[in-house]
Amino acid sequence: MINLTSADKVILLMSVLILAALYYFTWSNGESNRYASLYVADEKRYIIDLFEEKILTIDGVQGVSKLEVAEGRIRFIESPCSSHFCIRSGWLNQTIGLIACLPNGINVHFSNKNKTYDAINF
């Protein structure tokens, strides 16, 4: 095999440590998504602590929507709309980053997100 100098070993060890730290910070459900913002008709804004278990009752444009908050997650469980896309979309997650009931004018997203573009294509 090849001869490793002590610097090589340090580099290898450091890179493995950096990897472990990165996996820990990105893949464990950390504090980064602790809060969600909820808008009603783009006017009223609520900040929701996702680690506080509760059922939210929100007055929307059409009527009352209920949202469940549990274990750092949030979802619609009741809404006056007819299609119930909001309920069917399930828990708010990182990939889409938004759940909404458009007929009732309610949308929820992670609040630490800056309002930027999702992706730019050329």
Binding site: L4, I11, L12, F122
Partner: protein, 171 residues
């Protein structure tokens, strides 16, 4: 009027190494990848060997020529792919420059390969995040890409060291 270029011996050596690197770069581009951005980066072996044999300047030439000519052959010149290749290559040259500055610590080709692979991924990740996909969820892919960088860095380091050993008597 005729333009006369008088390539030195070193120019020819760099050109030969760059040609090898370009060949590997182009061959690699047709390999299927399970994840966007995941690439073995075998062309870097040539950069490493250029660095070991002829120094930083030669390595930088080989690296930049590889990205430039490689992209012209594949057809990605000035596209996002090209920007990413270039940023990775420049980052690894910066790393090489640092290695030459640190004289007290002895880092072999193996360690340099790992550092360069990681520099590649970090630079490309920053460029992607700033210019192409400014989405927070993107950071979830970084550990996976970096794992691949460490693994392929180790592999490339071993290959480069072995090849360099075989080349040594000729130097």
């Amino acid at each position: 009027m005729q333009l006369r270029l008088n390539p030195s011996v070193k120019d020819n050596q760099i050109a030969a190494l760059a040609a090898l690197a370009i060949g590997i770069h182009v061959l690699e581009s047709v390999l299927p990848s399970p994840l966007p951005g995941l690439k073995p980066g075998f062309a870097n072996i040539i950069t490493l060997i250029a660095f070991a044999k002829y120094g930083l300047e030669a390595a930088a030439w080989v690296s930049v020529l590889r990205v430039l000519v490689g992209s012209l052959i594949i057809g990605t010149f000035l596209s996002p792919t090209f920007v990413l290749s270039l940023s990775g290559a420049l980052a690894s040259i910066v790393v090489l420059w640092f290695v030459t500055k640190i004289k007290k610590i002895e880092i072999s080709l193996f360690g340099i390969a790992v550092l360069m692979a990681m520099a590649h991924v970090f630079a490309q990740f920053i460029v992607v995040y700033w210019f192409f996909i400014p989405h927070e969820a993107l950071i979830n892919i970084l550990p996976i890409l970096l794992s691949a960088a460490v693994i392929f860095g180790v592999l490339n380091g071993v290959i480069a060291s072995k090849v360099y050993e075989k080349l040594k008597p000729e130097c």
